[in-house]
Amino acid sequence: MREVRISLVGYGVVGHGVVDVISRKRKMLRELGLDLKIVSITDHTGTLVEEDGISGEKVLGNRTLQDIANSEMSAKETIRSVNSELVVEVTPTNIVHGQPGLGHMEEALANGKHVVTSNKGPLVVAYNKLKRLADDNGVMLKFEATVGGTMPLINLIERTLVGNTILGIRGIFNGTCNYILTRMADEQYPFSRALAEAQELGYAEADPTYDIEGVDTAAKIVILANAIFNMNVKYNDVQVRGITEITPEALALAKKHGYVIKLIGEVPALTVRPMLVPIRSPLAVGSTLNAAAIYTDLSGTITVTGLGAGGVETAAAILSDIVSIYRTKRVDAIF
């Protein structure tokens, strides 16, 4: 049995999801030969450290660590000093400066700890730097959960489609926008009403700017461009137009002529813009779903679809990244 000691940084919706899936899947993970132990959790209120592993039952009922923290160590101090080999970084994203996640990731990688994250900001701001830091320290940086939520994309390309040259990726990478556009098309709702509904249902943030202006999608395009296409691009290299100008009339006209309107991100074109998608296209998925078409030289076009967000769903992508680190090592015979 291989013990994997994990420091979790960030205890919001995704952080709870990570604790939840790791405790729920304990038996299955042990069958894979892995004993995943969360030995520390840090959020903005404090840090909880338990050398023998934190049990899900003990912490899942608490929204923050305020009442259960047993240390005042900062996230960086925890990463440095707690005996762990892998850091799961799930703090809130900031795509302008990448903090605080960027500092956490640098600290972890520099200390020879693997990083698994759903946090886009640091990767948008400094992917190449982080990748180099990981390589120099002989550890891995895994970020499947940053793009397309639970929809498998990066691991699919890097593992299953290995051998193919990836010509391009095009898709719907934001569930909030997709929900709004779907409701506008189905119910002829104006934008404002569809947005309000998405907010009521928890699909959109109180400040929905990142989603509806295309910022979130553009961040994902930057990550794909850098990670899959080695492009070394920044957020400002992406041409971005959101969905706020879309009207129910435009959606009705599209429908009449056999199309839906979707917010589509494209790499290596580096564009995010509303586009007409034929109703029968596999990309024409509704509700909060994400979908991506991967254009390859050998396998043709592969289209995947899946839930774009949600704590447990995102945690599932994080879990698969964690497991893949140790499986890779097995293949490389350095387990």
Binding site: E249, A250, K256, H257, Y295
Partner: protein, 167 residues
């Protein structure tokens, strides 16, 4: 062979049937008929574009028959436009001179707007237009879309293009 014909019809009932008769007689298979009622010529005639699958040798005979019926044959020959793309414009489509937007494409000679429908929810609210653009080839289509994008930027219109098949 696929042929295209541009005709001008009198704006009176029964003209379209009259125009289709010679093609039927020549055993031509009509692929599409686009009736531009909204774009009357200065002479008051209505332009019609036909795409027909027909033996080329019968074209001259059909032209003669059409002209005998008083129909003007502007052009007839192999189909020029082979690419088609749907586009939606959102914004003040009409107030920003839709005629000008269309003619910027039409005046290229390699592309044209062949179908146009408008949706206007109310004064001062953004309207939407659907248009189908045809062009003589893929490259020409890209040029036409570039023109439309530039016009869109200039007139503050959102131009919604279709995703292409493949990349």
């Amino acid at each position: 062979m696929r042929l295209s014909m541009e005709l001008e019809l009198q704006d009176v009932p029964g003209q379209l049937l009259l125009a289709l008769q010679p093609i039927r007689d020549a055993r031509g298979n009509i692929i599409s008929v686009v009736h531009h009622r909204d774009r009357k010529t200065p002479r008051g005639t209505v332009p019609v574009r036909l795409i027909v699958e027909m033996d080329r040798s019968k074209l001259e005979g059909v032209k003669r028959d059409l002209e005998k019926s008083g129909i003007v044959v502007v052009r007839a020959g192999e189909e020029r436009f082979i690419e088609e793309v749907s586009v939606i414009l959102v914004g003040h489509v009409l107030d920003s001179d839709l005629g000008d937007t269309v003619s910027r494409i039409d005046s290229t000679g390699y592309a044209e707007v062949m179908d146009l429908s408008l949706s206007m929810p109310g004064v001062d609210e953004p309207s939407s237009a659907y248009m189908k653009i045809r062009a003589t080839g893929k490259e020409e289509m890209q040029k036409a879309l570039k023109i439309l994008r530039d016009v869109g930027a200039q007139k503050k219109l959102l131009v919604i293009e279709p995703v292409e098949d493949g990349l």
